[in-house]
Amino acid sequence: MTSSNRETISVNDCQVLAHYKYDGEQYILTLSSSEIAQKTIPGQFVHITVSDVTAMRRPISVMSVDEENGAFDLLYKIVGEGTRQLAECKVGDMLSVIGPIGNGFRVTDKKNPLLIGGGVGMPPIIAIAQQIKNNNDYNPFVILGSEVPFPFTPQPSEISNTCPSKTHTMPILEEWNVACGLASLQGFKGVYKGYVTDLAKEYLDTLSKEGLSQVGVYSCGPHPMLEAVAKLARDYNLPCQVSLEEYMACAVGGCAGCVVEVQTDDGPAMKRVCVDGPVFDAQSVFS
């Protein structure tokens, strides 16, 4: 590591500005920090002390930022003791937050970004949508999947897109004028019944050869979903970046606790999810 990485991550005492509960034990937490709001790029995450009784921090992706008000949003789901304790925090409480951390998504100049997020893997996908929403060079299509009710109220969409199956959308994406399809196996109202990759395939099949050559895939979600997305990208010969998760201790590259195996030109290597990722080239992880 070179000294150019010095002082890129800060330790912040963040105030809880809002904390909303959604079905499926999902929460959206708004925290204050001008620094994190200004510096975070899509795919980066923060490392949070969830309570006084649990010393190890928990990594959570940044979903969206509000630079004007110096705040950022997280979306998380209760899966164990740490997230259960985080769910107890109230507006006005202070949390110790380290961030922003990691190599986020490298949004390339491919004009048709296909953004696929599953479950609590949605946040980095929404973060990319926020970054490119006002850039007319891009014509993004977002696909969100969830097997518990979505952590927002799906609403009908006015935005045109080529995907034959029309679905409801996420309100904030509608506000940002970003086209979106929702998928689930659960048969929720206004939601495509099937996998995110089924909906992605429908969309890709409407594109011309020229259009397909401009698709870049960006994805975050459960491991099996990422594997399916990586396969889809391989089948269509599309570049694909995925954001991964692994148990973390330091989250700054010091402990080598969070590694995943990736294939490199020099053979297999163990890369740290916290600072070498969390975003990796899909084909280096799933081959």
Binding site: C250, A256, V275
Partner: protein, 309 residues
């Protein structure tokens, strides 16, 4: 830096009695990503366990949180001696702190060979890890047998003029006896303790959480074990004036002071950084304050001042 924190250890003059522990801070540069963190605030940085050849390390999961601590089984992932010397060492900011290399071999001869390679570098000291619980060959196999420990230290002693610190395992019957043999073999200092072996089980899958099944326990839960081991080792080491890096679960100045009173000349901080990356500054301030409150000129006058009941 507060004046009374200056500490001498194995012939090195340290800014602070804090030593950042091997395996927790990569190769010294990683934590400098954090704003406000600086290696200048610690006495020395102990680099990641280094082997002769590169190692990929163990399969995930490599860590698991436990009550007041954590298990790790990294498996000594490192790029190997040659790359550490040729590519990593030249970029170390030597003006900021002292750097200690932590070495592991799979045979007595291999320990000797690695020590020899580092003897030709500007590293400040060599820490011999004969207590890693996470590798099949070597590691703790050497550390739990006083005669093997003796042979490892002996060959390193022959091969280097650098200060040698031997890192002892708590997973053995008589740590003081082992310490005595390491001192006989020429160790200049001792590190007490490495992690305590342990396991965590996932009741859904009925599998160990750690990919390698077992791991090394660190953090506050091992502090009482570590304190007693430091006390026991000190009974031997004080006769020879051999200083100890006390470690295992230190998260505050008070923890650090307990270790110093029990016999540690310097103190190690590892897992606590994962909780609070800026903890060292707090520990420095707390130690310094205590020393002035007690009218002590430095840490040296507190070492081993434990009054048994």
């Amino acid at each position: 830096m507060q004046n009374n924190l200056q500490t001498s250890f194995c012939g090195m003059s340290l800014n602070s009695p804090i030593i950042l522990l091997s395996g927790c801070v990569g190769f010294g540069e990683e934590y400098t990503r954090i704003k406000g963190f600086s290696n200048t605030k610690v006495g020395a940085v102990c680099l990641k366990g280094t082997t002769l050849e590169p190692r990929l390390g163990n399969k995930p999961h490599r860590i698991a949180e436990t009550a007041n601590g954590m298990l790790n089984s990294i498996g000594l992932q490192n790029p190997g001696t040659e790359i550490v010397i040729d590519e990593i060492m030249p970029s170390l900011k030597k003006n900021e702190t002292k750097f200690i290399i932590n070495i592991s071999g799979s045979s007595v001869e291999e320990y000797g060979e690695i020590a020899k390679h580092f003897d030709d570098t500007d590293i400040d000291a060599v820490e011999i890890n004969i207590s890693c619980p996470n590798v099949k060959e070597g590691g703790v196999a050497f550390g739990n047998d006083p005669e093997m420990s003796f042979r490892v230290v002996e060959i390193c002693r022959k091969n280097t003029t650098k200060p040698i610190i031997t890192k002892l395992s708590p997973n053995q019957t008589d740590i003081a006896k082992n310490a005595a043999r390491c001192i006989d073999a020429g160790s200049d200092g001792l590190a007490v303790i490495n992690t305590v072996t342990g396991m965590a089980v996932d009741i859904e899958t009925r599998k160990p959480v750690i990919g390698n099944n077992r791991g090394g326990l660190s953090g506050p839960s091992i502090k009482p074990i570590a304190l007693l081991k430091v006390h026991q080792v000190y009974q031997v080491s004080k006769k020879y004036n051999i200083p100890i890096i006390g470690q295992g679960g230190i998260t505050s100045a008070n923890d650090a002071l307990e270790f110093i009173i029990a016999g540690a000349a310097t103190i190690g901080v590892g897992t606590a950084l994962f909780y609070d990356p800026l903890v060292c500054e707090k520990i420095n301030t707390g130690i310094s304050q205590y020393l002035s409150d007690q009218s002590l000129s430095g840490v040296g006058s507190l070492v081993g001042t434990l009054q048994l009941n």
